[in-house]
């Protein structure tokens, strides 16, 4: 057994807990998880069955934590997990799983399959079986501060650009501001409209906010590749920044995994509760709406629909906020089939969009979104995650569908009644 395989199996042993033991013991091989997974439903290939993706983890559980399993191992009757097998499982665990969590919602015996995939990735990554694209992203995240290699000068350039666009000064490192605004690399690079929208909304709401020069990045590649140590470092940066600037609330941007990483895994990664609140930008906006701080005028007349980012809605619990916000500025808002927590993944989350080899599969899986959109007859697609946005645009382009994709925050900002 190679040293790295040994490390990998060690890690797998560590991460197995009572829930995982319960899940593996309860699985009756009914296959319903496959019917919930877009990688199976759109390809018909049974190997994409979610519980099957966990086979190496299941055997480690059996061989290490069950009496019979240990006995069998002692007698040389069990099949060990090998490097070859983990390598074979790499595309199942990474390329064909966005950690969307739909499988966890449908398993009749209650198995939280996505939780187990997240844990299996820990062992895969340590043993050297994570996809190159994710390895690079995580390394850059740790060393540079952003998985896409963004450094502070780039952020400052964006700030300047947005300042010119909006006429509003973008605050940086303001101690005692109420909100610390984080951004994802995707927004910094591809969607400067997000920061512009924040600036205008905050101004209207009369709230103090700031960016942080030492913690501007919200994306957490550690979660995607499945290395908790990396995830922890990235969260700690934000914690340090938030505490240094003494903010009350940290705002997670329109990025799915950033929210999961910070809001739900964050305190567990750093080992103690946060001294500040964490809210997704949509929660903040909905809060403003509720307090009457969000003054809008005018409506989108075209028929529009919403794509629920998995990490935000199903896995994050921010289900009604996007709908309340959209109803504020849209006259013709229609839901897709399976809206809200049961919605279908864009196909690019969980690191999949960073894996070159997975692109073809991703486009195949996209057929479900394509069908959903065609059924709504919508002319515009709104979403609240920068990665979903690009994945959706690419999917729509691939299938020659002419539907623009826009961000929700930016849509709200479009209808703001400007206070001079």
């Amino acid at each position: 057994m190679s040293a790295s395989l040994q490390k990998g199996i060690s890690v797998l042993k560590e991460v197995i807990d009572a829930p995982i033991a319960s899940y593996f013991s309860s699985c009756v091989h009914c296959g319903l998880c496959a019917e919930a997974c877009l990688f199976y439903t759109e390809t018909g290939d049974a190997k994409y069955t979610p519980i099957y993706k966990l086979e190496p983890l299941r055997r480690v559980y059996q061989q290490e934590y069950t009496l019979l399993g240990r006995f069998a191992k002692l007698l040389g009757l069990s099949k060990p997990v090998t490097d070859a097998e983990l390598e074979e499982w790499k595309p199942l665990v990474y390329d064909s799983c966005t950690m969307c969590g739909r499988c966890s919602l449908v398993c009749p015996v209650g198995n939280d399959i996505v939780y187990m995939v997240r844990r299996l990735r820990e062992g895969m990554a340590i043993s050297g079986h994570a996809p190159e694209g994710l390895v690079g992203a995580s390394q850059r995240a740790v060393e540079i501060g952003s998985p896409m290699g963004i450094r502070l000068p780039a952020v400052k350039a964006q700030m300047k650009h947005v300042q010119a666009d909006t006429g509003i000064e973008i605050p940086l490192d303001v101690v005692g501001a109420e909100y610390l605004v984080l951004m994802s690399s995707m927004e910094i690079i591809n969607f400067p409209e997000y920061l512009a929208a924040i600036a205008r909304i905050m101004k209207q709401a009369g709230k103090s906010w700031t960016l942080c020069s030492e913690a501007f990045e919200a994306t957490n590649s550690g979660i995607q590749i499945g290395v908790s140590d990396i995830a922890k470092v990235l969260v700690q940066r934000i914690v340090d920044g938030a505490e240094k600037l003494k903010v009350k609330t940290v705002i997670s941007p329109e990025c799915g995994h950033a929210y999961t990483a910070l809001r739900w895994e964050g305190p567990n990664l750093v080992g103690k509760p946060f001294t500040f609140n964490v809210l997704h930008i949509l929660e903040v906006l909905d809060g403003f709406r509720n307090q009457g701080r969000l003054k809008t005028s005018g409506f989108e007349e075209t028929k529009l629909t919403f794509h629920d980012p998995c990490q935000l809605v199903r896995r994050g619990g921010v289900i009604e906020e996007p709908r309340r916000l959209l109803n504020l500025v849209a006259k013709n808002y229609v839901e897709t089939s399976d809206p809200g927590k049961m919605n279908w993944c864009c196909g690019g989350g969980g690191g999949v969009s960073a894996i070159e080899e997975a692109q073809e599969l991703r486009f195949e899986a996209f057929k479900i979104k394509k069908t959903q959109l065609e059924q709504t007859g919508a002319k515009t697609l709104v979403t609240a995650c920068a990665n979903c946005r690009i994945v959706l645009e690419e999917g729509l382009e691939h299938y020659k569908m002419d539907i623009p994709v826009v961000g929700l925050t930016e849509t709200i900002a479009k209808y703001l009644v400007e206070v001079p």
Binding site: A18, S25, S26, A36, T66, G110, G271, G317
Partner: protein, 219 residues
């Protein structure tokens, strides 16, 4: 080996062994699983009514939105045969009598004809379940020896039980002995196969509902 001796054996020694292994085995497996514990969640939970571990323990029995049409047989057949098993095991007069002898508890039974009909439906549905497992690509792909063995172990008591009450196939004594033996085999294997899901699914659903409930997602 004559029929009477065999029957006496399965009713006494056999029963003791089987129940012993079943109880101790199940207790051991549950201990083995749940004492592994889980880390405390340090994130601030959301509190939304209807979203909790307890809710999911029961609500997970309902097909989630959009899922029924994807595999109606899984749901319908699954419910029918599980329900059938429950009715036969717990609402048949002879079984209730056995439980009363062992534990002192008893309750009203359902008429024998009803149990008969339930047994037939259960057998037919279990056959359908097997056909599905063999025919549907995902089920076939996932299935192991354990799945087919579990099917046989579950079917035999129902089948032999039905044959006994109808006085079919072999002499009453043999048939009854085989029925009891088949039930004992089932008991012995429950803790060590996927059949343990009878107990662990409650824990699994609870964990699932709890994790999601803390995020405010009702599953």
């Amino acid at each position: 080996m004559n029929a009477d001796l065999f029957l006496t054996w399965v009713r006494s020694t056999g029963l003791s062994i089987a129940t012993g292994i079943f109880v101790l085995g199940t207790l051991w497996r549950l201990f083995e699983i749940y004492t592994m514990g889980r880390k405390k969640d340090l994130a601030v939970p959301r509190h939304r009514t209807g979203a909790s571990g307890l809710h999911t323990m029961f609500r997970r029995s309902v097909p989630p939105p959009g899922m029924f049409k994807r595999s109606p047989t899984s749901y319908v057949a699954g419910y029918v045969f599980h329900f059938g098993l429950f009715v036969i095991v717990f609402l048949f007069a002879q079984h209730i009598k056995l439980i009363q002898e062992l534990t002192g508890l008893s309750w009203p039974n359902l008429p024998a004809q009803f149990i008969d009909a339930t047994a037939v439906v259960t057998l037919a549905t279990m056959l359908l379940v097997l056909v599905e497992r063999i025919n549907k690509p995902v089920k076939r792909f996932l299935s192991t020896f354990g799945d087919y063995a579990a099917w046989v172990l579950t079917l035999l008591p129902v089948l032999t039980g039905f044959l006994v009450t109808k006085h079919l196939l072999l002499s009453y004594t043999w048939m009854l002995a085989l029925h009891i033996l088949s039930a004992e085999l089932l008991l012995i294997f429950i803790p060590f196969t996927k059949l343990i899901h009878v107990f662990t699914l409650w824990g699994s659903r609870w964990y699932n509902g709890d994790v999601n409930g803390r995020k405010g997602v009702a599953t």
